[in-house]
């Protein structure tokens, strides 16, 4: 065990997987000599050489498309999008190609790629370095979307994603990179994709969220505990396909559910979680499903006042929790 930051855990997962399997390689902008704009791949170029940590042209659709081609003939590419906001030129490759390769070929071909991308705000990134893009992909069967919340989960889930037989989008909250630290085993382990995780047991209200918001919700839950309000916290970990069983179990447990996402509210991953709860748990609910999310504006502004207004915070979650508990 060691205490690692979120980004160190991601780095370690890639390093270990590249040492374990020579078919694993990284491609993206600035991933090689520079070691990535966030330093996720630092030192890997020196360790594995320029071909396995490949600096590509500034060309997102080719980064995804070339990874897809290499994966089809047996490689295990990790394609890095420098910011999740810039994944959009690669959407056709991800949605029309990667997601459908197994299905359209009747299981003849498959496409085991990982697309890593830093998402999320609170870092003065303005409109185009702050977005949450998971909802754009979260109704595409054939894809898996993983969003870890802790260094431990990040390492285990990234290793599972690299070994997965199908395409995985792996979104990393960039504010978590250095802010969040935690115990991480230095040996090999994987965390199964598709399984949500109870991060805190409680009996009064249930909070369901993912990514950086898990950490914020844990802080808020601590504050409520002092007032005798017990919070049950479910971390989705995989936002597509959703772990329906775990969602139903968590919602039923307390009958009061708060869903939190940093993404714009309408049509977010949490809209689907709400639908699952409405379909399966209506008669177990003691309060209307509550959602806390970013406002429905195009993206978060640069000025700190407006950025803070957009962002989820422990305080906002705490207020929502208290309101729900009092219902």
């Amino acid at each position: 065990m060691a205490v690692l930051s979120f980004i160190e855990a991601i780095h370690l997962a890639m390093k270990e997987e590249m040492e374990r399997d020579e078919k694993v390689f990284i491609l993206g902008e600035d991933v090689g000599k520079k070691g990535g704009v966030f330093k996720a791949t630092q030192g890997l170029y020196e360790q594995f050489g320029e071909w396995r940590v490949l600096d590509t042209p500034l060309s997102e659709s080719a980064i995804a498309g070339v990874a897809i081609g290499a994966a089809m003939v047996g490689m295990r590419p990790i394609a890095e999008m420098q910011f999740a906001d810039f994944i959009l030129p690669a959407v056709n490759q991800i949605v029309s190609e990667a997601a459908k390769i197994r299905y359209r070929s009747n299981n003849d071909w498959n496409c085991p790629i990982v697309v890593r991308a830093p998402y999320g705000g609170g870092i003065h990134g303005a409109l185009y370095h702050s977005q949450s893009v998971e909802a754009l992909f979260a109704n595409t069967p054939g894809l898996k979307i993983v969003i870890p919340s802790t260094p431990y989960d990040a390492k285990g889930l990234l290793k599972a994603s690299i070994r997965d037989e199908d395409p995985v989008l792996f979104f990393e909250h960039k504010r978590a990179y250095r802010l969040i630290k935690g115990e991480v085993p230095l040996d090999d382990y994987v965390i199964p994709i598709g399984k949500a995780d109870v991060k805190r047991e409680g009996d009064d209200i249930t909070v369901i969220t993912y990514g950086l918001c898990v950490n914020y919700a844990l802080q808020a839950a601590e504050r409520l505990q002092d007032d005798g309000i017990s919070v049950h916290l479910l971390d989705l970990r995989t936002v597509y396909p959703l772990d329906k069983e775990a969602i139903i179990e968590a919602a039923t447990r307390t009958g009061k559910v708060l869903l939190v996402t940093e993404d714009n509210k309408e049509g977010s991953v949490m809209s689907e979680v709400a639908a699952i709860i409405a379909e399966h748990c209506l008669f177990d609910l003691d309060a209307p499903i509550m959602r806390l999310a970013g406002p429905d504006v195009p993206a978060m502004p640069y000025a700190p006042t407006m950025e803070r207004y957009f962002m989820i915070s422990p305080e906002k979650i705490e207020r929502a929790m208290r309101e729900l508990a009092a219902f």
Binding site: L54, A62, I68, G69, R104, S105, W109, G142
Partner: protein, 331 residues
């Protein structure tokens, strides 16, 4: 037809007869599919007619047990040379379960066959270009020596993926051959409204060899392809080949083709690559009109067999639509 003689290219008489036979088989299968479509038996056809010389000439320069191909929807001649059988092509046309391309999931012309090194393709055009580049990169990473061959139409060279893929291949000097089958039309829009310049000239911007060739002549295409394969295997990087031809049918079975004059189409048909190459074989004393007729008879038997086989074959059961979204275990 040509100043080229096959012997000068290292091709034997039986090689060129095989070339002709593959072109003829593609043509007759395609014609049969149109009949089946007009008879209401299959919903859709997208044609190779007019492209056979480019396709077969190019495919003959490749090695089907070594190289990978990422064909586009007209490439019946290419996939035939890579081992897809007439029965398999007809199974795809009828959308039957045994179709190796997709088990009846995709429209015809969406090729894919792992065992035959044919990458699976989709309908959005040019997405296959980065895939082919990725296949070449995988070869480089694993120290395997093969060529990655990808095709598309001239209209599709306006897509971002063509540019992104070609540039990536050029930067890393990867063994990719991009062949553009320029049939003068992107559905109804003629080439002068598609490209500001020429297809082959685009190679300059990617730092790769670019060459335009008569796509109606399989020997001419074979020659430039062979040179491209040799360059690729020597580590000299990618090539862009523009095979210029003419589309002899409408874009697809759903296109009325009213935007071209009948004179223009008649002119195209007078230069049908199949007729031209048949004449070449007779002039070169490789075949006679009679032996070509005999070959046609044999090909028609194959087409009849394939049609009958595919028509009788079963569809996938309805609930098979739920399978293979994700890995379901090794089968």
């Amino acid at each position: 037809m040509t100043d080229l003689h096959h012997a000068e290219l290292g091709l034997s008489d039986s090689d060129v007869l095989k070339m002709y036979e593959t072109m003829l088989l593609a043509r007759r299968l395609d014609e049969r599919m149109w009949l089946l479509n007009r008879a209401g038996k299959i919903p859709f056809v997208i044609s190779c007619q007019g492209h056979e010389a480019a396709q077969v000439g190019a495919a003959f320069a490749l090695n089907p047990t070594r190289d990978y191909i990422a064909p586009y929807y007209r490439d019946m001649g290419v996939v035939l040379h890579f081992g897809m059988t007439p029965r398999e092509l007809m199974l795809s046309a009828f959308a039957k379960a045994e179709d190796p391309n997709s088990g009846g999931r995709q429209m015809p012309g969406h090729f894919g066959y792992k065992k035959k090194r044919i990458l699976t393709g989709s309908s959005p055009v040019a997405t296959q270009v980065p895939h082919a580049v990725g296949v070449a990169l995988a070869g480089r990473l694993q120290n395997q020596h093969y060529v990655s061959f990808v095709t598309l139409g001239e209209g599709s060279t306006n897509q971002g993926d063509f540019h992104e893929g070609a540039n990536f291949a050029g930067v890393h000097k990867l063994p990719v051959i991009i062949m553009v089958e320029n049939n003068q039309y992107a559905i109804s829009v003629p080439i002068d409204k598609q490209l500001g310049g020429n297809v082959a000239d685009r190679a300059l911007g990617y730092g790769m060899h670019g060459e335009s060739v008569d796509g109606k002549n399989p020997l001419a295409v074979y020659k430039v392809m062979k040179e491209a394969v040799d360059r690729a295997l020597r580590g000299e990087g990618p090539s862009l080949i523009e095979a210029v031809t003419y589309r002899l049918t409408s874009h697809s079975s759903d296109d009325d083709d009213k935007y071209r004059s009948s004179e223009e189409v008649a002119q195209g048909k007078a230069n049908d690559p199949l007729l031209l190459f048949g004449k070449y074989l007779v002039d070169a004393n490789v075949a006679t009109k009679e032996t070509l007729e005999e070959m046609n008879g044999k090909v028609m038997e194959i087409v009849n067999d394939a049609t009958e086989y595919a028509e009788k074959a079963p569809y996938a059961p309805p609930e098979h639509a739920l399978k293979y979204v994700y890995w379901e275990g090794d089968e």
